[in-house]
């Protein structure tokens, strides 16, 4: 550099050099990004204040020690490779992450060789903290995914309203008009009245189910409480007493008295209620319905609970991928299904971090098994 300043006195030349060095130092220290110099082994030779702030390590500790331990394991190999490329070939720009007392921070790093003639003396580095930007990107991606799900669900809701909810409304309208005409024979009129009542009841169930689905979406963190499995099963069976008697179903329960779990009680009851209701509803003609409810502990501190029946069953190959979707019914000649029951079961099981599996065969029966964490 000195060669460029010809015809200057020694004094003037030194002054300019000093000023330039001061400027360099000011830039180095006041730059908003982390700036550092590494020797060829990756040890810090110089660091500005931001390096200390980002890494959470003091200057005395940093100087003379390698950058490697600061780097997140996942990024270590690629970071070392980039550093070595910067020595051997050309400037490198890459993303990495460092572990700091404040947590993982993501950096956008530029490394370039510091040469004197042909010889590389050190590696210069500039690291921009992009943690916040990255977090925002992740959040944005999550929001987008969520929006897509919500959008899809709104579309399904529209379909539920246009088809499933409209159906009992149309029927009720039809019955009411027919009754208003007053042209039916006495027995037909009685039948029409009963059917009208049934239709309005189905409508009521569907509106309640839809509300439940909405409630699942808007739920906050639900409180967990201890649930005795046998007690839950017994209580639910009592609530189904008249249905069970009507179809002369025999119910066998295989649940150890002490078995319990820590879970969201309302969901647990709702899941079981839906499964038992389905087992009763889809019973087969020609033989008496038998329903088996079992619960047992499973490895990985889990609880399995199954509801099996000898009902009409389903062709799993045909229905498997649609079974837990909203707005689907499979059973023929069953107009009362809202198409929401199993969707609700699946959503609730998911919210409890569990899984639900099905085995079924037409004419043989179905078995639903729910697996939930014990706490």
């Amino acid at each position: 550099m000195g060669h460029n300043i010809q015809n200057s006195t020694d004094e003037a030349r030194k002054k300019v050099l000093r000023e330039f060095e001061n400027l360099n130092m000011a830039l180095f220290h006041n730059h908003p990004d982390a700036i550092y110099m590494l020797d060829l082994e990756g040890r810090f030779l110089m660091v500005n204040e931001v390096v200390c702030q980002v890494s959470g390590v003091g200057r005395e500790l940093l100087l003379g020690s390698s950058f490697e331990p600061l780097i997140h394991l996942k990024y270590r190999a690629s970071t070392i490779e980039s550093f070595e490329m910067a020595i051997r070939e050309s400037p490198q720009r890459y993303e990495t992450a460092v572990i700091t007392p404040e947590g993982i921070k993501y950096l956008d790093v530029t490394n370039f060789p510091f040469r004197s003639g042909d010889q590389v003396l050190a590696v210069f580095g500039i690291a921009k903290d992009i943690t916040e930007k990255r977090q925002k990107e992740v959040e944005l991606r999550e929001q987008k995914a969520l929006l897509e799900v919500v959008h899809e669900e709104v579309e399904i809701f529209r379909k539920v309203i246009a088809h499933d909810l409209r159906k009992p409304v149309a029927n009720a309208l039809g019955f009411a008009r027919l009754l208003k005409e007053g042209v039916l024979a006495a027995d037909e009129e009685t039948e029409a009245k009963c059917l009208l009542l049934g239709t309005v009841e189905a409508l009521d169930t569907m509106v309640r189910d839809l509300n439940k689905v909405m409630a699942l979406r808007s739920k906050g963190e639900m409180a967990q409480e201890k649930v005795e499995v046998l007690k839950a099963v017994s209580e639910l069976l009592i609530s189904f007493e008249s249905e069970i008697n009507n179809i002369k179903a025999s119910i066998s329960v295989h649940v150890d008295p002490g078995l319990h779990l820590l879970t969201v009680k309302a969901y647990f009851y709702s899941i079981l209620r839906n499964l038992i209701a389905n087992a009763l509803k889809y019973h087969a003609q020609g033989h008496l319905p038998e329903i088996t409810i079992k619960a047992w502990p499973r490895e990985g501190s889990k609880l399995a609970i199954s509801v099996g029946d000898n009902g009409i069953g389903m062709d799993m190959e045909a229905v498997a991928d649609r079974l837990f979707k909203m707005h689907t019914r499979f059973a023929p000649h069953m107009a009362e299904g809202s198409g929401l029951g199993l969707y609700i079961v699946n959503q609730q099981v998911k919210l409890l971090n569990g899984t639900v599996t099905v085995s079924s065969e037409p004419g043989i029966g179905s078995e639903f098994t729910v697996c939930l964490p014990l706490n």
Binding site: A162, R166, L173, G174, R177, L178, P332, H333
Partner: protein, 146 residues
């Protein structure tokens, strides 16, 4: 006046209703209810062979085993094969515009009705069928393109 009508619907309530409304306004109409779309299809093939097709088929769309669309597709190929004509009116509780558009693509469909069935709907359909069967020659081109 409609004399012979088939009603295809998986919902017994809807069948009861449609049948009663139909006979209320078409006193001499003979109506048959099919809760199983397959059976209705078999019957239609038999009718075609004996030359005794119904004046109209009222067809539901949202049926779990065979949807109305599938029924239309199969009936379409049967009609092509036997060179017969069959009038179908969709009778559905659906108020989904997409369904309406999809049905309009089928040449068999002469009307799209939203449940519940009314007298004025029956009136419109009867007029449409009379018009098609009346002055027009019996095989309308384009009718076979399902």
């Amino acid at each position: 006046m409609l004399k012979k009508v088939y009603i295809v619907d998986d919902d017994p309530l809807s069948l009861f209703l449609a049948k009663n409304i139909l006979t209320l306004y078409n006193i001499n109409c003979k109506s048959s209810c099919y809760i199983d779309a397959n059976q209705a299809l078999d019957q239609l093939v038999e009718d075609a062979l004996t030359g005794d097709l119904p004046d109209l088929v009222l067809l539901d769309l949202n049926m779990p085993l065979m949807s109305g669309f599938e029924f239309l597709r199969r009936l379409g190929s049967v009609c092509r094969g036997l060179e017969m004509e069959c009038f179908v009116a969709i009778l559905t509780s659906s108020i989904d515009e997409e369904d309406k558009k999809r049905c309009a693509e089928s040449a068999l469909v002469i009307d799209f009705l939203e449940k519940p069935l009314t007298n004025s709907m029956l009136h419109t359909i009867t007029k449409a069928i009379t018009k098609k069967n009346g002055p027009l020659p019996d095989n309308v081109p384009g009718r076979e393109q399902i």
